[in-house]
């Protein structure tokens, strides 16, 4: 299935992209995290501290993904 992944702040600077579409044959966010680690080794460290959102809602590592989901990689937030 195809999953769109969005990058922000530090993750955007490291990857050099706003987002990308990935062919994903895993099940959940945890699997996607491994795929991102493989595809973008420079993200490895940030992935440890980042959260994920699926379709604009925070998600857990166990959250199951489906075709067309938009997943955002959320590095530690710094508003305020």
């Amino acid at each position: 299935m195809k999953i769109k992944v969005l990058f922000f702040a530090e993750t955007k600077r490291v990857v050099g992209l706003d987002g990308t579409e990935l062919e994903f044959d895993g099940v959940n966010i945890s699997d996607l995290r491994e795929l991102l680690r493989d595809k973008f080794p420079s993200l490895s460290e940030i992935l440890e501290n980042s959260a994920f959102a699926v379709n604009k809602e925070y998600a857990r590592l166990q959250t199951v993904l489906k075709e067309g989901d938009i997943v955002a990689l959320i590095p530690p937030v710094e508003g305020g």
């Binding site: 922000f8 702040a9 937030v77 508003g79 305020g80």
Partner: protein, 131 residues
């Protein structure tokens, strides 16, 4: 009311919007860039956001705050642009029946925004003065 805006915040207007005949208290929090941090003197802070999600998270925080006893109105406004020193980047205002619940709600909102809303900052340093 919640908002993410590029332009400077009109603090007087925001405070005016909080006024209410039933309110005995208006508590305001203003966030602004610090002049210097560990890595040196600061020129500005550039805030960015995952805007659609940030608005959803802000709306959830607003809703939770409005459900607290005695809270009459809530305004949360955050700028998402480059903020020079002396300008306000973040405004939280709470009008309430009494001051105590206003202070508590304001503190709750600031903490929640800092924990949950996908907003990030990139600090621009004054390299001429940092050496």
């Amino acid at each position: 009311m919640i908002s993410l805006v590029k332009e400077p915040l009109n603090i007087d207007l925001l405070i005016q919007s909080l006024k209410n005949d039933n309110a005995g208290s208006i508590v305001i929090f203003l966030g602004e860039p610090r002049k210097s941090v560990e890595d040196g003197p600061v020129v500005s802070i550039n805030y960015s956001a995952y805007k659609e999600m940030a608005l959803k998270e802000l709306a959830k925080i607003e809703e939770k705050a409005l459900k607290k006893d005695g809270i009459i109105n809530v305004i949360i406004a955050h700028r998402v642009s480059e903020i020079p020193l002396k300008e306000i980047s973040f405004f939280v205002g709470v009008s309430s029946m009494h001051r105590e619940e206003g202070f508590q709600a304001c503190s709750f909102i600031v903490d929640e925004v800092k924990k949950k809303v996908p907003i990030w900052k990139e600090i621009k340093y004054d390299r001429d003065r940092s050496c």
